[in-house]
Symmetry: D3
Subunit: 180 residues, 6 copies
């Protein structure tokens, strides 16, 4: 059976949060783990919309928090599937924060999550491919292979033969986020 390809826009999910007291530490900054949790929930819904299956997180790539987010700020999280690899999907998550009364809105962080679709017995099951439309989606689609190879290398599952190839992937992974 061939699965119909889906566009990233079909799996796109947006969510918005108010930073409440229990989301913050003593000085009123959003806890990094709470944000990782919110990002993962968006990625879970994204991957479920793409695969039409229950999905589980299998990996998160490096996440850097550029700037502390404050109590009462509004956090907007957006995500979509960049590419599918048989049973797994890479989900791009982008986070913006905004202090409305102060009028400043800034990019807080971005991340790549990997999810696997599972059947009711908990076994991985194939998902439909991704058909990118915009330039940004196409770029993320193409570079997803490099990020995946790098991820597998980091997890000790594959070897990358030549130094040249390894460094190429490395620079690619590094450049991905700064292009947006």
């Amino acid at each position: 059976m061939t699965l119909r390809p889906k566009k990233p826009s079909e799996s796109k999910v947006v969510t918005t949060h108010f930073v409440m007291p229990d989301d913050t530490n003593h000085l009123g900054y959003l806890l990094g783990g709470r944000l990782l949790h919110w990002m993962d929930l968006v990625a879970a819904i994204v991957s479920q919309k793409h695969s039409e299956r229950v999905t589980v997180t299998v990996a998160v790539d490096n996440v850097e928090f550029n700037r502390p987010i404050g109590l009462g700020d509004i956090v907007t999280i957006e995500g979509f599937v960049t590419r599918a690899f048989n049973t797994s999907m890479e989900v791009f998550i982008d986070v913006w924060a905004e202090n409305v009364p102060k009028g400043n809105r800034y990019h807080a962080t971005s991340a790549f999550y990997t999810f696997v679709a599972i059947d009711s017995a908990g076994k991985p099951i194939p998902v439909c491919p991704v058909e990118p439309e915009t330039d940004r989606e196409k770029y993320l689609f193409e570079t997803a292979v490099l990020r995946r190879e790098f991820r597998l290398f980091m997890a000790g599952r594959i070897n990358i033969e030549s130094l040249d190839k390894l460094v190429e992937r490395l620079r690619e992974v590094r450049n991905t986020l700064s292009n947006f």
Copy 2:
């Protein structure tokens, strides 16, 4: 002022969770984001104990979830500071899961979190150095420099001059977790 060095055992924190219904997806597997949140809370307490300051998450390295954790399982999370770099600290987090009635206990995941200590105005402030004792602590202390360089390279903040050095760091980062 010179800050007194602290041992990793002085910042060590352990916590234990029951996986409850709201922590799981439809098939009863622990949500990855909830686990990342629990891990971050442990790392926050660890870094506060080491620095005796309020701390904020600045980065999380790649995290891979080896095996789904089920509803009702017991999750044990342990962490300690591996090394301090002026105002930042690297925290090692190790996670074990256990299904008690079934009698199986397994390693769920490991991760490196980076925290920065801040003063009451939210500005970074120096933290005391780490004095490792055990072989494992010494190994994590020594390799922390490589992981940090790699992290800065990935964040686009530094360049690593030679291919050889870059690959050395890369292999080191990859090997760190498999040694434990």
Copy 3:
């Protein structure tokens, strides 16, 4: 001081929820109150974005839940300001639910919330006017006056003189939601 008018698209907020076990009753249907809470949070962010102030809920119009929403469904809530009246704003909230594996998506409910912007002493403060763009926004903008009069009448704050006017408003309020 005249406040710059804002478009409804400037205050638009979207949020997405997974229905988790603690959100449901015994038969696995989403609790109405939980949904009202989620809707109010969206409306609070919408009104804060429009007014750039802290805001408080002052009223919710009739809400009807057309169809029970199940455990594991995805709920998407969208809102924007339809019109401002000096210190108060009417916020339109629209809710869609989706059972992804079953492939059905349906309109769950709509509602009008009223918020007031307050200053740091808790006193009402003027907000900027709304400048509608689309046909739907224009229709909601125009009919907002009728809904407001009806709301004030229901709260016992004004009398509407003639039977004809009263019934006109009544039919208007009734028709508002069915036009979308």
Copy 4:
């Protein structure tokens, strides 16, 4: 089978909440949605006690929040079934707030919720009638028919023939709460 009538006192439920930090906005006022959620939970228990069945919210009539409720205030919510209509029940909810150290107690809001009793397959199922005892219960019982007709009219499900009848219902609905 005829179901035994029940008195409103048999379905009466009281609950009391402390307003905690996560229940409030930035200026320390209780979020309207949190209160709607608490009111709905009371109404759900009330309707379950009356019907001895699982119940689901089908509607909430206009709710107006007269006065902001502050952090640390005590909120008392009381409810009972006013009347049953085959498978549905109207629940009256009354809310009082109190700032104990300041010694002031005030009426915060009132609302009418409509619930339907369902069987284990999720289908509506008949509930027992209501037998009012006190004057207040009798008044709410009698006027429930008017509120219900008005509700059905607002939902576009029935037409009310004459202008006179429509206005009569309208004024009745408006007057209901101010009589208490």
Copy 5:
């Protein structure tokens, strides 16, 4: 300054909970700790109403859970101040559980909590005396002295001189709950 005595009915608080999935263990029984938390919240409100001050828990006497409470059951918790001792108050908490569809209602547990009223600096501050009205309130008022002495003895703060007195207190404490 003499504080006006208050009746137990003036501090009486009732609250009602639905047992939700996250309140229960794997077999669907309410967690004892969750119930202790709910009971403490009621006792905190009771003691605040009596003292018109912020209060803190200082002790809980033996609590026995007679019968497991199930998922979906309704738990009603009632409390009032039995007696005041300068800055501290003894609060009696009574818990009933009910499975509505099954039609059974049973006594779940009772407990005595001790709270202290504090001023804004966190220092204990005198509270008004209790004036019992009903026979039950009078009995609890009179025996409160014995329970308090026993509590202080158990905490190692006082010695009770004669065997006879000690045993008298002991039997009294034991008998208190079985009289209701």
Copy 6:
């Protein structure tokens, strides 16, 4: 079938909490009930690890809170099974609090919880015996019989014949905690 004895160290559980805003009252002190809930969760995990069964709380002995715990403090809770009695287990829970920036760490409270292991039908089921190793464990093991007799006496389930025996148990129970 004879169950293999287990050491207290095999059931030992540690957990660590940050005191967050929703855990505290108006003056920023940890709610006693929240702490009782955290302690019960640790005791539940401890008893599950010992029995390898689902367990339910059946009793908590007197708990005294020596000193208020503040917002942002770190609370460490430790527990292990002291002794098993056929289907029930006594769990010792010890709580320490720490204000890291202020550098003070203090003993907050201790308590004895009693849990029963149940099978999938909810019926009590035998658990393995305890084999104490350290002096502290041996002391708690030996005195567990006295605490249990006292508990049964207090619950009105047994009579203790002579005054001498009663007082002996009483003093024993009182002394247990002050020995640590």
